[in-house]
Symmetry: C2
Amino acid sequence: MNNYEHVLVALRRVIRATDLHSKRLSKNAGLTGPQLLIMRTIRDLGEVTIGTIADKVSLSQATVTTILDRLEHRQLVYRVRSTQDKRKVHAHLTESGADILSRAPNPLQEDFIKKFQNLHEWEQNMILASLQRVANMMDADDIDASPVLDVGPMLKDDGWKEKA
Amino acid sequence: MNNYEHVLVALRRVIRATDLHSKRLSKNAGLTGPQLLIMRTIRDLGEVTIGTIADKVSLSQATVTTILDRLEHRQLVYRVRSTQDKRKVHAHLTESGADILSRAPNPLQEDFIKKFQNLHEWEQNMILASLQRVANMMDADDIDASPVLDVGPMLKDDGWKEKA
DNA sequence: CAAAAACCTTTAATGCTTAGTGGTGTAAAT
DNA sequence: ATTTACACCACTAAGCATTAAAGGTTTTTG
């Protein structure tokens, strides 16, 4: 196993751990990580459009839309179509949403950061630099995606079902 | 914005970039990143159980199960219940699966690694060390998940639907 | 043997992406 | 000015990935 593979395995572990971490927190609040993240964004930025939220949290508009659907269903947020530019929709926290958010743990700070505080400052800096390096590298990733194979569309149903 | 937040933002970027990268490759092969990863694992390890695959690729058994369902549906892999231990199920590549795999790009090596080779060796080592540090930290994450709030279950349907 | 553990699958819910739709805004061309 | 073309914004649809929790066998343990 060479260096590259080690890096990739480590990356996988981080990603997985981050997800689990997010899930665990979500249980406490009844809200998932992305949900809290979006609510925090709405709170911090005030009257904010779906597109802006998507940019801030690095998610697609489609994802933000569906997450807002769920939050709106629980009456934690509400949407208002802009009168200035009728293409836009502004998201707001409801009273209930703001209240819950104020008491919810912050998945992107509270716990995660506590872990980081156990490290020396130079270690923190090193990790930061490294991660940014990786991120930049992957941003620059502009592979000319020449098609290689095509095994047809992926269908549902069927499959295993040994018991039948 | 403090150091911690920078780290988290960088982490998010890496995760997102990794996903995009994986998606892009998948398009070429008609296979997604996790699918290729699992097929590679089956090829490399030979007769391998679902649980072993899950360990190797750092995914839950449930996830591996559903991915294998799709692969099996396309006849790229097949499953055989072990006769030794009837709890176990072994996954195998079909001829077609092995063939396609041999011609598919490897999302965890080919391209990603090319990027890494642009770095100095000490940089590679630094990144590796950092990522492992983060991964270890998060593995050790054993938060006593005391419930904080409960806003009830998340329901579907309903919601926005302004147009109605 | 009975209880516990192990292994896989299923179910319900969430997240996430791409592609496509429809309404809205804007600017260029006639 | 009106039309035309294009860009923008949010939503919807289809498909894949994931997990936790629950269920069903089978094996191991006490």
